[in-house]
Symmetry: C5
Subunit: 92 residues, 5 copies
């Protein structure tokens, strides 16, 4: 699952029928690349979110007929990190 | 779902039978990379579109037997953005 | 679907049984990255082709038991482009 | 399957229902890119792990209804390498 | 399908149950990026191999319950190339 920041909402009057009634959010990753995702959660611009891709993304919409390949899975509140010891160098 | 600009239409006289009768569009992303997508919407060069990949892309053609891995999902009219507050720095 | 140029044919005497009797082509993308694809079309070195990935690539072989993740979908003759107006700047 | 180092645990009070009760780990690859994965193994920050993506990642959770696209498959203890002879230059 | 060189064997005492009894190889691509793949072929460090990803990779193990997303498909002996004529400039 990837980490993105919400930047806005897509306006698309002409789209395939399998995406009717879905909110489409524009997301931006750490490198500035934009992606579009369906939103079953209700996010707002500025939120950091994680996304689910592939067939799991369709199921995450609560309706496997929704024709998405990327769905917002949740809003990130925070994450807990610990200091990683220097000895952890297996895959350096 | 990815964001592309339509640059043209592919001419392929020799192709696999599962793509008969499909319009194949050449798309270009923000970095200039080209991709080919099936088009159930009817786009024109210069349009900005979003695409659906994987099995959802086949369903988006209205016929899961179409052998595509990328389908145009809609034409982007615009997108609404808001100013993102500086405090939103979780995943910086 | 991606765009590649055919550079040759792979010689693999030891391979998994689900790829028996398949021609395996070596392809090169615009950045020089190499990929291997099954070939139901009959391509030749120098041809520009587009490829279908994932499960659609298996179906494109005409036999879903072929264990490929990338199949050549057709030979590109040409593509038609139009001048894209400067006003098309939504996703700049 | 990809190789990552565990950097922490994600805190998400608002998420889709298909991820209830799952631990979500934040992982970092060799280039510093962050990903989120479900964790059926029980990892700790600093561990090096490999991940399974796509539908196999859902099955790896022991419950195909878990809406993940990336699951931790195991903790890497070490890997054995051998000196690779200079003559192995096929794909140089 | 991607091209890699085998660099070693992964040692993982703690892993998900769906990968029991599988040899896990560490592979390196042309840019030095490492990946982990299951090995139904029996490769040795230094071999150049091609890999099959996604659900086809599970089937290639001869048992679709193996929880892999990348499987070694064969050992590359060589590949035949031809000089590509300068006139082949469609997608330049």
């Amino acid at each position: 699952m990837d980490i993105f920041q919400v930047v806005g909402t897509l306006v698309c009057t002409l789209r395939v029928s399998g995406l009717d009634h879905c909110s489409l959010r524009v997301l931006r990753d750490a490198k500035g690349k934009l992606q579009v995702a369906t939103d079953p959660v209700g996010v707002r611009p500025g939120n950091w979110v994680f996304t689910v891709n592939g067939s799991a993304g369709r199921y995450a919409m609560g309706d496997a007929k929704i024709l998405t390949d990327l769905t917002i899975g949740g809003i990130i509140d925070d994450w807990e990190t610990e200091v990683i010891p220097v000895s952890a160098t297996v895959a350096s």
